[in-house]
Amino acid sequence: MSKTVTLTIDGKQVTVPEGTLIVDAAKKIGVDIPVFCYHPKMQPVGMCRMCLVEVGRPVVDRATGQVVKNEDGTPQIRFAPNLMTACTTPVSEGMVVLTESEKAHDGHRAIIEFLLTSHPLDCPICDKGGECPLQELTMRHGPPQGRFPYEDKIHFEKHFPLGELIYLDRERCILCGRCIRYQAEIVGEPVIGFYQRGRATEIVTYSDPGFDSYFSGNTTDICPVGALTTADFRFGARAWELKAEASICAQCPVGCNIVFNTRREAKSGGRVVIKRVMPRQNEEVNELWICDKGRFVHHYTHSAERLSRPLMRKGETLQPVSWEDALRTAAEKFEAAGKEVLVLASGRLSNEDLFNLKALADGLGGRAVLYGDMGGGDLTTLVGVGQGTNLATLGAGDAILVIASDLQEEAPIWWLRVKQAAERGATLIVANPRATKLDTYASFVIRYANGDEVQTVLNLAKKTDKIGQAFAEAENAVVFFGSEGLGLEGSQRLAVACAHLLRETGHVGKPNNGLIGVWQRANDQGAWELGFEPVADLQAAFEQAGAVYIVGADPFGDGRLTLDGVKERPFLVVQEILPTPTTEVADLVLPAQAYAEREGTYVSGERRVQRFYAALPPYGEARPDFAITAAIGKRLGLDLEDGSAEKVFERLAVTQPAFENLTYARLAEVREQWPIVGRGDLYYGGTAYENRRGLGVQLVPAAQREEPVTLPEVQGEAGPRPEEDEWLGVPVTRLLDRGTTVLLSTLLHRRIGEPFVVVHPMAAERLSLAEGQKARLTVNGASAEVTVRVDETVSAGVVLVPRSMGLPLYEPMKVSLKAL
């Protein structure tokens, strides 16, 4: 334990670790010192001067080194002649801090008055109004009347977009620099900065497109005024009109804790819709941040295209039918198919949905298949990170290996936390076939050729080079493995190799050690836990089935399934929230509720089970996935729970060893977190919500339960290599893709861009292609128009094809690329 210091703040004694700043010490005992530029997650700068307090220190006799006492025996305190900034002054023994004295109040009033001399009177229309630190602190500390004449205020142009996502209002900006420091210190992407000086200072962006960062939305949360606002929520509602409900972000496996702010909306016919997504504090998952995908991809929930009624095929078209008819038909067809039922579900579904689906498949003797092209989930259940893992506690002496994953594109908040761990001194090893943004922070970068994934891990396990040694000798080690350039088989083999590496170096079965899969969907890990596994040949599985039940997946849109050449097509039931190419070919379409409309749980990549809550009323006649499955099951005589998600979870917890003793109540437990943020004082931590609805519980991996863990043998190579005179297309993941749900957020279209491929400059030259040129990509007979991008870190002979961009490539395979 480090040394502690005891001091008195406003008459209350507090003992805090040495080096704590006065403002944080005060926060711990509930004394709110007003701040603007200070943020507990960033280095103090003392710019805004709002936190001025009186600071006194005990008088020390120079000769004896003893504290001079008053007559009554109390130590004599000498106060500094000037007020001091509580955000930059560390505490010291015996210090006395006055935050409510006349002098301190004068200081607060002075700073507020100064700030208001240049702040416009926009409060009635400002998006920050109602949750604005400046407003709040003006009410508390400001002068009753301003002495600065209104006509002397400086005016700037309103509606100044920093990029298409974030708008700046330079009049409102109080130049606290939180946003700039956030981008520089926390994200490491200093794309915004100050320009000019003095009163003319303004914030500018240096990037094209403007404010080019996946974390830009967070700056609007920590902005203490309405200077930075999102284009998405612009004038969307007043803060006090919004309802808040806790949820979990479903865009990637990080499982960021979020809040859906909802309100009735005229253009949606008076329905309650999500107006904005805000981060919810969970220091073990996402701290106070969320990425822009999580923040802006929510429009699909209130899309007018949503499926609202069951549809049944009548000839060429799908006709609305009653739920009763739909469920009866589904049950009949499944019963007829019996063992030939194929349930194809994706990691977009909650554990409860997946549990019921598995039970349905098992009950019929059919097959439950996970939709996706990444393997290794069986290994994460065995040697996944131990309970108690928190990336924020990794630092010097620890090691992190990120292999076959562009973490910023696939799981931005993990990227942020891995980066920070590296900055705290953790040995970061980034192994990827091309350069990624994480390379900057890596202690070691391994650039392997596509196909050498397994070999790369085996080389590390040999501990012959310094990288392998660094990993082996680390106190704690975490491996993130992804599916960059790999298909199902390749990623499965890579996971096996990683699992062996971890076990051989003793990094399994304890907190902060183990394997993390960078999955493509939010609950892929949950699906693996519940016994779902992907299949290599999905088309064959489809054709062999008598009836197929596709839930939360679009294999026909992704090019994974086709009806071309299928002689005897199985009866196809599709359960979805939005129409997709898959619902178009379905025989029966069942409308499901979006996850924001119902309760449930997800398992994050770090194997944390987290609850989400119903934020919206159900859309049309849509029902929760688990309830639909249960209703079909009941008609088949299966005992499935359809009462509530909680009831399903109770059964799940009984049958699944990993979920033992878990209940909804336990998942909803909260502990006090540091920093203390929330609605009580928005100026300290920003507008991120405090966590009142649960921090979640991490599952215990088999290795930590001290069960015998048998790992499969390491197998050969992860994937094919490009051969001479041919082009090997390999899949990569991008954050903003052309997925059905993402595309409905029109704001993001420019960032999503058109379908593209990436090749080495020399490859481009050989193909007579240049950056930005259009070309035709042909995969497996299907072809699409793409824009060519070049990257000299891509292997020669390889064409990177982003997933979910409308290009039908999901595992390494031969492609052809021709200039248009």
Binding site: P120, L121, D122, P124, I125, C126, G129, H155, E157, K158, H159, D169, E171, R234, F235, A237, R238, W240, E241, R264, E265, A266
Partner: protein, 172 residues
């Protein structure tokens, strides 16, 4: 004479009736004739316009926040120079008052930063169903003056640059 007594009484009564035939009537012939209201009468709301026809309302929803009966629903959108409703940065794209809820307290008037909403003289509020008790913006907006253009207007760039229009000498 006990026989005459009732007749006298009757005659007296009739006299009163007869006399009142020549008095001025206090009743109004509503609806042909309408009773004038007091100067500070609080009748149905009117959303005011500036002289040039632009709407005063900037969609701040402070009226809705002040409303003790939760009768007002406002949604805002952003003005552009091509399509301008109000001189500020935003305007009310949806403005509804539910007159089944409204208690005519006038708090909305007090809360309004641009004096856009005023409770005026109209008291003829009758509905045949609940839905028609909700007055949308079109019904609440003041008609455009003879000199003015209706909204949305096309305005020259750089003319309206403030987030909240500056108020000249706001009334009490």
């Amino acid at each position: 004479m006990p026989v005459l007594e009732p007749l006298i009484e009757l005659g007296r009564g009739l006299w009163t009736t007869f006399r009142s035939m020549f008095e001025r009537p206090v009743t109004y012939q509503y609806p042909e004739q309408k009773r004038p209201v007091r100067p500070r009468y609080r009748g149905r709301h009117v959303l005011k316009r500036y002289e040039n026809g632009l709407e005063r309302c900037i969609g701040c929803a402070l009226c809705a926040a002040a409303c003790p009966a939760d009768a007002i629903f406002v949604e805002a959108s952003e003005n552009t120079d091509e399509e301008r409703y109000s001189p500020g940065e935003r305007y009310a794209s949806t403005y509804e008052i539910n007159y089944l809820r409204c208690i005519f307290c006038g708090f909305c008037e007090d809360a309004c930063p641009t004096e856009a909403i005023v409770l005026e003289d109209d008291y003829e509020l009758s509905f045949t169903d609940r839905r028609s008790a909700i007055y949308p913006k079109e019904m609440l907006l003041e008609p455009v003056g003879p000199e003015a253009e209706p909204t949305p207007q096309r305005t020259p760039p750089g003319l309206y640059t403030r987030a909240v229009p500056e108020m000249e000498d706001p009334k009490d």
